[in-house]
């Protein structure tokens, strides 16, 4: 099962970082291949992404369900469920205050292609996840730091 974890330090206090991260609209466009998302309710949303599988790119619809949103611990946990592709997975988002001016962001994602040829898709998917996680985290970092001036 392809898994990725990416950490980075944002040069900003916890509050603005968490304030940014907890509003999905703010960072959704930073997700590689993001096309649109629709919030069904507090917990559930449907995301349309263009995702790479090897040299092939597909438009994937995923249902994202937030299973735990902990404003205290600054931690979000979610599950993924493919709508037009057989795939499941989940992830977490954790912000940790490192100092008054620095916050660590941790992004974890795992995804598992299902169906008969899932084992092959996962092999192709694996190398794609890391750059996606990195790009998103770095863009969030840059945006928050920019907003902080």
């Amino acid at each position: 099962m392809p898994v990725v974890e990416y950490k980075c330090i944002v040069k900003a206090p916890m509050e603005p970082v968490w304030g940014f991260v907890s509003v999905i609209e703010k960072w959704a466009p930073f997700l590689k291949g993001y096309e649109e998302h629709e919030e069904l309710n507090d917990k559930e949303s449907v995301w349309t992404l263009k995702g790479d599988v090897g040299v092939l790119s597909r438009t994937v619809k995923m249902k994202v369900t937030i299973t735990n949103w902990d404003d205290e611990a600054k931690r979000v946990e979610f599950e993924l469920d493919g709508i037009n592709e057989k795939a499941t997975g989940g992830g977490t988002f954790i912000a940790t205050s490192e100092s008054d001016s620095e916050t660590e962001l941790i992004f974890k994602l795992e995804i598992n292609a299902g169906g008969m040829i899932g084992p092959v898709v996962n092999v192709l998917l694996g190398p794609m996840l890391k750059p996606v996680a990195k790009e998103m985290a770095e863009k969030i970092k840059a945006r928050i730091e920019e907003l902080q001036g």
């Binding site: 263009k50 090897g54 040299v55 092939l56 790119s57 597909r58 438009t59 037009n84 057989k86 169906g115 008969m116 040829i117 899932g118 084992p119 092959v120 996962n122 092999v123 192709l124 694996g126």
Partner: protein, 548 residues
């Protein structure tokens, strides 16, 4: 117009090869092995060309593996067969040259590069014609698995197919039948091979040939697109190429070999030369007719210009490769039981199971009254029996029905959804179901040729490619005009030298592969006739150019 000689060359070599597919790589290898300094220009960042996304078979009558296995073949039989298929669009001399050279060429490649082959079970594409071979005496060689780690860092430069990337051999594929019994495929093993850099199909050809170039220290310049020839006194002495946004001049004292593909991605050239459209080519979107234009610039005679390696395709909306919609080749789907192809009147118009190049032809038929294409849009129609048993593109049996398949509970409703004649479709299906029961298709002879059965389900009785359409749900998927590439271009001598409008060789200019007027003429000899001819005429051009 060809360009005049510049004051100074930006790059210089003896033999300059344009393109890195099955024609360019052998051309480079042979030019090198015959003593020339060789340089290769590749317009993209990747090595492998159209071959990289292909099945990788090579059509080699009389090959060494047949001899080892005791399979009899003769040049005369192959000649009879090829002449019938070319339909007079290729010369007897060129066909004979192909047949003479292809076994020798393959032996050379096996002996002098890491490429390896096995015998397959694929029959010639018209096994019922005189001189043809059946599947049990196949002339098609399939590449073996190749470990791309052998390439070192250059592995990253390999062009990878968006659809043919499953690393299995022809014989494994024949054993597991991913198109028919996908549940038998050891998918975990496939995943492992992929993770470990094992390639096959087209990659089984391009990767070891690329390795052979690296071993020879042949310089392959990526991201450099040749766009015109440089001529002096009627002789080609180099090219102008685009590199990093500027034009450079590359000198070639012994010759330029055009091996950079056809023009199936150039709208203007397709309109200029082909009788009908190719809207959804299955090749990488890099074949824009650069070779043809350079040939024309140099005053080349052109041949076989109205033909192409026809292949019906389909799309899954949203699937992209290289930034544009991916066109997927359709082959086994149309040949399976429980699937037919119909036109807007709901009528069948073709033997759905016939070989791809030839079954494409009726898709270009024009209605003399409306001037529209008679059979477009065309639709594959199949029923739940199909869906339960076989894959259709990426929709696996037993799995959910994807959005891109049209589905309906009745044929009438299906016809309405895809805007075709419902009564016509119903009548067609009833008639076809009767044919299935009689095990005889009097309209289009589906199943009569051994070839028709190859992509079917041999568990299906009594015929591997005939099955009724009767169990709802019914499904439809539009069949589009694809292509493996064009096959018209500069005409050549038997050594691959481009000739002019008066039949005289143009010194310093060669063509091979889809860049040249194909030896196959109007048809397709058998699996790998494309790659076979690319390799043979690349091989010959490399030798001839080196000896200048």
């Amino acid at each position: 117009m060809a360009i005049k000689k510049p004051g100074k060359w930006d790059l210089e070599t003896e033999v300059l090869v344009l393109g890195t597919g099955c024609a360019g790589l052998p051309a480079a290898i042979l030019a090198h092995d015959n003593g020339a300094k060789v340089m290769v220009l590749e317009r993209t960042a990747k090595v492998g060309g159209t071959t990289a996304v292909s099945g990788g078979g090579v059509w080699v009558p009389n090959n060494h593996l047949m001899k080892e296995k005791g399979i009899k073949d003769s040049k005369e039989a192959a000649m009879t067969y090829c002449k019938r298929l070319s339909g007079g669009k290729s010369s007897d001399e060129l066909i004979e040259k192909y047949l003479d050279v292809v076994p020798e060429m393959i032996q050379y490649m096996v002996d002098n590069t890491p490429i390896k082959f096995e015998i397959t079970e694929l029959s010639d594409y018209h096994p019922e014609f005189e001189g043809a071979h059946q599947g049990n005496e196949s002339r098609t060689l399939g590449p073996l698995l190749y470990d791309t780690n052998e390439l070192g860092d250059a592995k990253e430069n390999l062009r990878v197919s968006p659809t043919m990337s499953m690393p299995m051999t022809f014989s494994e594929s024949r054993q597991w039948k991913p198109t028919c019994t996908p549940e038998k495929v050891p998918w975990e093993k496939m995943g492992e091979r992929l993770a470990n850099g094992i390639t096959c199909w087209g990659g089984g050809v391009t990767a070891p040939l690329y390795k052979a170039c690296l071993d020879r220290k042949i310089e392959i310049v990526l991201n450099t697109r040749a766009i015109d020839v440089v001529m002096e006194d009627g002789k080609v002495i180099g090219v102008v190429a685009q590199q990093d946004g500027k034009d450079i001049c590359v000198g070639a004292s012994k010759g330029v070999i055009l091996a950079c593909g056809g023009f199936e991605w150039n709208e203007e050239l397709k309109t200029d030369f082909l009788p009908g459209p190719i809207t959804h080519p299955c090749s990488p979107p890099i074949n824009e007719g650069d070779a043809l234009k350079m040939g024309m610039s140099a005053g080349a005679a052109l041949g076989n210009m109205s033909e192409q390696w026809g292949w019906i395709s389909a799309i899954i909306p949203g699937e992209e490769s290289e930034g544009i919609q991916l066109n997927r080749g359709i082959i086994y789907e149309r040949s399976m039981p429980h699937c037919i192809i119909v036109n807007p009147k709901g009528k069948r118009f073709v033997n759905e199971s016939a070989a791809y190049n030839d079954m494409f032809k009726p898709f270009w038929e024009v209605d003399e009254n409306t001037l529209k294409f008679k059979n477009l849009p065309a639709w594959a129609i199949f029923d739940q029996q199909y869906k339960d048993k076989y894959p259709f593109l990426t929709a696996m049996p037993g799995e959910d029905v994807p959005e891109w398949l049209v589905q309906a509970d009745s044929l009438e409703e299906l016809a309405e959804k895809i805007n075709i004649d419902a009564a016509g479709l119903k009548e067609t299906v009833e008639k076809f179901n009767g044919y299935v029961k009689d095990n005889k298709d009097p309209d289009f002879a589906r199943g009569d040729s051994e070839y028709d059965l190859y992509w079917g389900d041999d568990r299906n009785e009594p015929c591997a490619c005939l099955g009724t359409l009767e169990k709802p749900v019914f499904y439809a998927c539009e069949m589009l005009l694809g292509s493996l590439g064009t096959k018209g271009g500069p005409k050549t001598t038997l050594d691959g030298q481009v000739i002019d409008a008066h039949g005289k060789p143009i010194t310093g200019l060669y063509a091979a592969g889809n860049a040249m007027a194909s030896v196959a003429g109007g048809s397709y000899f058998g699996g790998g006739a494309t790659i076979g001819s690319g390799m043979v005429f690349g091989y010959l051009a490399g030798i001839h150019a080196a000896k200048q």
